[in-house]
Symmetry: D2
Subunit: 407 residues, 4 copies
């Protein structure tokens, strides 16, 4: 996220971000950003938190007459509820919420924000979604890259449940087919859950409702696919594409895990089955629309999730992110006070989101866009630099046919 | 990994790294580093690759009379086999290995290293392990931090198999007990697999042997626990501790996933069960040996994996990393040539590692140490800066008792 | 400037910045920031540009009840004149202004902002001054650090003119005395020029008026002194304190040079005279108020400008920054059109600042504060990390008395 | 210097560096690097320090068959004199050398390296020169960029002495002519001083000899010109090209100042004279050999030093760096002991370099190459990213002719 900084807590004046390095000469207005802001908003249905937020984004700088200048783009969203409020629950001032950031923030900073975690509010994700929307605009326009996330599990309800025979969905033809065809419009037809399956979606909605009614909460997973990514993105060691994606995803509040391609289930598949054989790429395929050279090869299967050795191979990139059950629940909990002097019972007043995965969908998409954008810029620098070198006078000697797997 | 750079391919003169920012005044010699280098070496048993490597580390700079100066520490390990060799298999020069980095490196760089992936060799992990050993020395000496990784699954053989009732080991008392007691000496008693269970270890060894005999390969998972970490480490947004850990782990070759605390299984547990209630910390517990103030609270359970809102709470940090089956196998595979002109059958000659998890153990430990060290240095800067501020003249008004979960 | 990002052009909605890493628990309100904003404003006198600007800063985030939370601080200043305006001079649309950024911005971005350089407006310095004011607050409160800049030359009028006998003011006792006593209140008594000498100030004012009347412009230099900086700040190689200061100063618009301590003139002084002998530090001196250990030594002279080998020695840091004559002048200039097709005469309408040094004073102070803050945070991390190491078991052998000057 | 890390002290096993991001597919062997290493070596004449050093560079990684792979390039130079030696001068163990880093290193790290400053040895510049040579190879091959530094003053002996009428050499036609024609071969004809003027060179040599005979030292300045740099390099705010150049130059040991283009003298020139009018660029000029589009304009004069608003305009970049008199001198100095308990007389034994500027020439060139390389890579990313955007549907409205100088 070298190109992105952001600020904001729950109850400050505004939340915002600065995007540095956006290419100049791209059409950009608030209308490109607002749709993802709105998809992120709470209050979209009976099963998400009903508080009404407006979240109108304003471009502060970096564009003129609707075109990017190449200079930093400042984005801002006013907080409408700027003052700390009493949620009618003095106990929440005495007790750090279990599994919430209240306690660790106090340990880190030595200052207790009146709004508990302060910075660890879901409102900080507004800046991420806004910046991601700008990156997505570029990726789509310049390379035809499409990013779509959707819910694949809520609690124990899975869209593609693992089985001993098929420990990973990467071997399920239905899953692979879905990756090829899914788009955001389709995903949003399955509101409020955003799981693109009539049957699974219904069961997930029931599951969330059940937990909501019990004033409890439940977790779930979001799967994301990124299509039309050119080959060659990602750095070979520390900044492998999967590593920077994992970093980005685990930086989203409430996440507990990340797997890409065959993932954890892939560990149970023999190498002879797991390896993705190369085949000749169809003429029409690949990075044709990207303006970059089309790859000669593609893979027959895609257990790799579009990344091999940290570098994209042109196949769809896909991964799954785990979100825990929200920590703030109405259900009463016995826990200690901040000073450790006594234990008591804490129960959050008001209505709280029983499951975050439907709203996490645009956040996962936004973070994906930022990561792909960064890796694309790095590779652009490399390609550009190489392109000005003269052809090698020397040729690789023909006897250099040794291959080693190294150790 | 801001404090660490490294270089090296399979067949170059040496591999090495530079560690910047190591605290001055710490005793350090090669003897502190070599043990982990040796644990990383292949050829430790019949089920790992038998090629003999020496991997003697040499400190180039940054110490004098066995004490760190605070200046950059250069570390180097000579490659004994510096020239590309013919593995007797011309086909490997024509075919990119399926699911290996051969193809993507060529797409990225436009240059084909004679050793296939070149930089994507397991030899690049030598620099990581060496740097990690230096970080570990500091963490142990200064804060009593202990990092221990071990194998928890090979193929479908799990040390703690998930069940519908217990979808995550974070709710298994045996697992939690193991985290408290495990150390490296114990782990190495279970060589060659490094799974600290007589029974599971035996079955894993059989599993690996079976795949080796079929010239095939299999994946597995490594679990790592970090004990005695002070509270307050990790940054609140993009550099949450779990995010930087995930980045580090997914940068290790052959990884497919990362989960911390309750992980993917935790998504299936209700919030009321998943939340970790706070209790008063026992006098003897916590960061006592670290020289940092002891926390007043600890948690009764540890589904959080020691991190809440991206920041450590003083409880043990634990996570699990998925490793895929190695791509280079003797088993024959039908795949395309580099130019996509024809398909053929590729079968790697020589003996290849059928499962990487036993050797991955010290690499996971090393990357953990580097991440914790970085986050500790950041927090030291914050604590140090804050400590020189005068007490606040102003007090937080007593009516500021509002708490919100934010959105 | 790792801790600081900013955005804004001349005519966008607002300019602003994000400060990351400000220590928590510090009192901070807009009243701490506004004074420097006001000192930066144009229109302070007859010899500076008369356009009226308000430049009211608003804290967006990172504080609550007037105390910093440790989270990112967003600062914003609305642009009152948000729309590009016709300055009645169509020629300025056809011609890139000589020695201005109009042309190079177009070459870099391929997009021509209607306001010429766009980002290269003096308005971008608002974010710097705002962020600097926050850093200064901390440095003053926590370490008693004081930063004061003032004008030392305008055109050929020098406050301390170099002579063959005294090629650098670092050997002038009057100059050294001034460094010890100068403060901002004194500097502002010498408005509009901000040169703390009745006589020189008068001559400088005359010089500027003369160039204003000719619709021409003139350059000058600003000297800055930073007092009470603890010893040990700055990194030994690439981030020497003088290197990061030089980076910061040369990033200010219109700068042409940087020298610290004896500077360019010091090259003409023999080493035997230039070297600063060490003497015992007086009990009352040094970093006493900083909470850091007081140095045992100080230097008799200060040709070093408070920095030796890139690291502070506790003596006052001082340096001088060169500002060129402003490029935008009413004076007519013959120059080529953007497309190079023809040459013509360009003369800027309106009134333009004939000399920027008086207004540059708070900008130089702000950038100084940001640099010192960054280096202080790094050193805090090092001190903190080292403080938890056990005492060395081993002692440095007494025979290790070799000293070499290295090569 | 994001792409470059290095290690090494005077007496450790080796000094070295890692270059990350070198474009793949470039021919590179030790023979490309060694010449600058040799130019940096001491002992090249009677007026530089006579200790003999070999400084043979070895490529450790990142190339194969003499071609860069795109992976990190490790470079190493063995230290031949690895053990701290007694220079026969116990006093140097008791006394920190005045104006040397001995004292500040101890203040920073709390550890006293036996070799005094340790890291602050001129030997650390070996890694810079080696990395710079690799960058230069690319810049020359890909863009025809040529970097040449030379000595322009020693003590009070100036090649282009400033006068009241001509306060800056940027207005001297002889100087501008020299910038156009100078190359390294010519500079080295003027060994030992490297000032390309028979007359000035002789006087400088005499000046250095005089100080050497008095066991004293003297400073000087180095001017550097970078030709054929494409327009558009450098970032608009904090990473203006002059700012990153200043950072790089002030990071070289013993530097005291940096000025570019008209520099400090330019402050005394009226804007009407100082501004560089644009003229149509000749067909043959500019970035023709660079593969980047040729600029339509160039400037008639070059007070800007090739950079306007932080961004290159295609004209030659030139700047001057001040080096102080070396701190280690045979001349006796009265100074305090480390503990401040007593004062005494210190006189360095052995022969020490009386003036560093001749040897600083290749170091200035190396750091210039690293800075230009970094800025070029950034601009490559921007150009590459922009090139894939579709043409703007919208056109800038013709009435947008407002131009403002901003404030």
């Amino acid at each position: 996220m070298s190109t992105f900084g952001h600020y904001g807590e729950s109850h400050c004046r505004s939340v915002g971000c600065i995007i540095d390095g956006c290419p100049p000469g791209m059409e950009l207005t608030e209308a490109d950003i607002q749709p993802q802001m709105t998809r992120r908003r709470p209050g979209q249905s009976a099963i998400t938190t009903p508080r009404n937020e407006k979240d109108r984004v304003q471009i502060q700088s970096g564009t003129e007459f609707g075109v990017t200048l190449g200079t930093p783009i400042g984005l801002m969203v006013l907080n409408e509820d700027q003052r700390p409020k009493d949620y009618g629950n003095k106990t929440m001032d005495l007790y750090p919420r279990p599994s919430h950031a209240d306690w660790t923030y106090l340990e880190k900073y030595g200052v207790k924000a009146s709004s508990g975690g302060g910075r660890s509010s879901a409102r900080e994700t507004i800046g991420r979604v806004a910046a991601g929307a700008v990156a997505e605009k570029y990726l789509k326009l310049a390379h035809g890259i499409e990013i779509t996330a959707f819910v694949t599990s809520v609690g124990a309800v899975h869209m593609f449940p693992p089985t001993p025979e098929m420990p990973t969905p990467s071997q399920n033809p239905d899953f692979l087919k879905l990756l090829e065809t899914i788009d955001r419009e389709t995903v949003d037809k399955f509101l409020p859950v955003r799981c693109p399956s009539e049957e699974a979606s219904k069961r997930m909605e029931d599951c969330i409702s059940e937990f909501r009614d019990k004033e409890d909460s439940i977790g779930g997973t979001v799967t994301c696919v990124i299509k039309n990514v050119p080959s060659g993105l990602g750095e070979p060691c520390f900044d492998k594409l999967e590593a920077t994606l994992a970093h980005a995803m685990l930086s989203i509040p409430a996440t507990k895990g990340f797997e890409f391609g065959s993932g954890f289930g892939g560990c149970e598949v023999p190498g002879s089955v797991h390896n993705d054989p190369f085949i000749r790429a169809p003429e029409s395929a690949g990075a044709g629309s990207s303006g970059l050279p089309r790859s000669k090869l593609t893979t027959k299967t895609n257990n790799s999730g579009g990344v091999q050795g940290g570098i994209t191979n042109g196949a769809p990139i896909y991964f799954r992110v785990a979100f825990k059950p929200p920590a703030t629940i109405g259900h009463s909990q016995t826990t200690a006070t901040y000073d450790g002097e006594e234990e008591g019972v804490l129960a959050a007043k008001g209505r709280h989101d029983p499951c975050v995965v439907p709203r996490a969908v645009p956040i996962v998409e936004a973070m994906s866009a930022l990561v792909v954008m960064d890796s694309l810029m790095s590779q652009m620098a490399r390609i550009g630099a190489r392109s000005h070198l003269p052809p090698l006078k020397q040729t690789i000697p023909p006897s250099s046919n040794g291959v080693s797997s190294g150790q």
